[in-house]
């Protein structure tokens, strides 16, 4: 039985989401594993397939086929929460250059203030890095 993380990778590689969709808690756990991979070692161990998953989650505006009813966060919609988490992991992994388009979109489009602010911060960090 493939893990949720593996299913996410396959969804991006083959454009084939799992038949029943993802359970919200499993999706959050998979993101937590990716976050841990960037946090718990001096050098990021986030694999390229994971980066691909996160970039795709942002490109899809956080929309993932889900089964069951996702919980309702109070401060932002579930799709924006998925994007916020993906941004945080990619920022920790130093992979911002792969998501310039998504950062610019989030800066431009209406979204939760926390998500938009974070995207702005990352965009400005990316621009500073590119200038340096």
């Amino acid at each position: 039985m493939p893990t949720t993380r593996e299913q996410l990778r396959r969804m991006v590689a083959e454009r084939k989401p799992p038949h029943r969709g993802f359970a919200w808690s499993e999706l959050m756990d998979a993101l937590e594993q990716m976050e841990a991979a960037t946090r718990d070692s001096a050098v990021s161990t986030l694999e390229d397939e994971d980066v691909g998953v996160l970039v795709d989650l942002l490109a899809q505006r956080g929309r993932v086929p889900l089964r069951g009813q996702p919980p309702v966060p109070h401060s932002m919609p579930p799709e924006e929460l998925v994007q916020l988490r993906a941004l945080k992991i990619l920022a920790q992994a130093g992979r911002l250059a792969t998501i310039r388009d998504s950062l610019e979109r989030l800066d431009r489009e209406p979204s939760a203030p926390a998500l938009r602010d974070f995207a702005r911060q990352l965009l400005s960090r990316l621009e500073s890095e590119e200038e340096a």
Partner: protein, 423 residues
């Protein structure tokens, strides 16, 4: 169709989309378009409100419709009640004109070349004003006799706001504001001057919107469409209401900092819990509440091996999970050296706090029991913390997927609470 009069006022355009017109741009939340894309008043067809900062002298682009022989030149005037208590509210005054007009054609539409300024300013206070104007054309015939022709009435709803607003704020239209917000805020804050009084009036007025807490919508436009929202939408709505009157608020999201203890598998804390139904709700919203068996702890702290009384309640509550993924959104007003908290979802009055505005940097902040934020806001508003705790010889886990709700402890009983603030 209207009766074919010799000459009639046809349309009046106030918000023409340029800075010179001085109007506050009003947007329809239904179509997300500016009301001023077309004349706000079109005879027999359209009558949309118009907004200005208080004390502004409006200007209006005027179109006339001529049906029969009419003089090619005349003076145009509009009369209506003064809107000034000093003059008597109903005392008729000449709001516009006499303005010289030369018609381009004596049958059909003529739009005056330039917008015409009103003779007087709108009231110099926040408010909503109904103004009915009577339009007349006056001229002198070749034989020297003065003539007057009635061109019809136009009815307007004017909003006067407290101060210029900031444009293009988060979730707001690119300029101005959604029309229900300007209408509500101008009515609730009529005659008020201080920023604190304005915010207090806005908080008191919110129930009148009919919008409810606990509806899954997170933007102001979405809230207006579906009749309510989550705190992430409510705090933006409150910010935009205040911004309509030129008052700036600082939005913050309150997060509970989670802390796991790997030695005991306990987690203090997993969530903040609200029991109140929220604004315009009689009971917690079925769409977003957590319904289950809560175990409320009679006292805290307690040792894992000592007996502790757990009061079981099957109840509906709102649960704000710890960490970055969830939180409760609030607004702060800094005024005259004091800090006030406005919670549009759960509180009907401002909460004055003895602390500076918290920076939105996400750093953990430890709150002792004497913290004014805890005593005056957190304890009454989010009266429980939910944790995975050991008690009576077992581990009571929080697992929402299995509807296991751990143990809920009175927030006031917890010695120290770690929180974080973000935007």
């Amino acid at each position: 169709m209207h009766d074919a009069e010799p000459l009639a006022i046809y349309s009046l355009h106030f918000d023409r989309g340029d800075a010179e017109c001085g109007a506050v741009a009003l947007w329809s939340p239904v179509t997300d378009t500016r009301l001023g894309e077309q004349p706000e008043w079109i005879r027999g067809h359209r009558a949309e409100p118009v907004a200005y900062v208080r004390g502004t002298r409006p200007s209006v682009r005027i179109a006339l419709l001529a049906n029969h022989f009419v003089p090619a030149s005349f003076e145009l005037s509009a009369f209506g009640p003064s809107l000034s208590s000093a003059n008597g509210l109903e005392t008729p005054v000449r709001w516009l004109g006499p303005h010289p007009v030369s018609l381009e054609r004596t049958a059909g539409w003529s739009t005056l070349a330039e917008p015409v300024s009103f003779n007087r300013s709108l009231p110099n206070h926040i408010g909503t004003h109904a103004l009915e104007l009577q339009w007349v054309a006056e001229w002198t015939d070749a034989d020297g006799s003065t003539r007057k022709l009635f061109l019809g009435n136009s009815r307007h709803e004017f909003f006067t706001t407290g101060a210029p607003m900031r444009q293009g704020e988060q979730g707001a239209p690119p300029s101005g504001a959604y029309v229900p917000l300007v209408r509500w805020s101008s009515r609730w804050c009529a005659g008020l001057e201080s920023r604190k009084d304005i915010c207090d009036a806005l908080l008191r007025g919110l129930p009148e919107t009919g919008l409810r807490y606990g509806v899954p919508a997170w933007t102001v436009r979405h809230m207006l469409a579906v009749g309510g929202g989550m705190c992430g939408g409510w705090y933006q709505l409150f910010q935009q209401l205040a911004n309509c009157q030129g008052v700036t608020l600082e939005g913050r999201t309150l997060h509970l900092a989670p802390k796991d203890d790997p030695r005991t598998d306990e987690a203090r804390w997993e969530a903040m819990v609200a029991v109140a139904p929220g604004i315009n709700q009689l009971e917690p919203s079925r769409m977003t509440r957590l319904y289950g068996r809560f175990l409320d702890c009679a006292r805290y702290p307690f040792a894992p091996d000592e007996p502790v009384e757990l009061l079981s309640h099957v109840a509906s509550r709102y649960v704000f999970m710890a960490g970055w993924d969830d939180g409760h959104c609030l607004n702060f007003l800094e005024d005259s050296g004091r800090l006030y908290l406005y919670d549009a979802c759960f509180r009907t009055e401002a909460v004055e706090l003895d602390m500076p505005l918290p920076p939105a940097d996400g750093r953990p902040v430890r709150l002792g029991q004497e913290s004014s934020f805890r005593r005056r806001y957190l304890h009454p508003t989010l009266p429980f913390l939910m944790g995975t705790l050991r008690a009576n010889g077992r581990l009571w886990e929080v697992d929402l997927g299995r509807n296991e709700l751990g143990i809920t402890v009175g927030t006031a009983q917890v010695p120290e609470i770690d929180i974080m603030w973000t935007r």
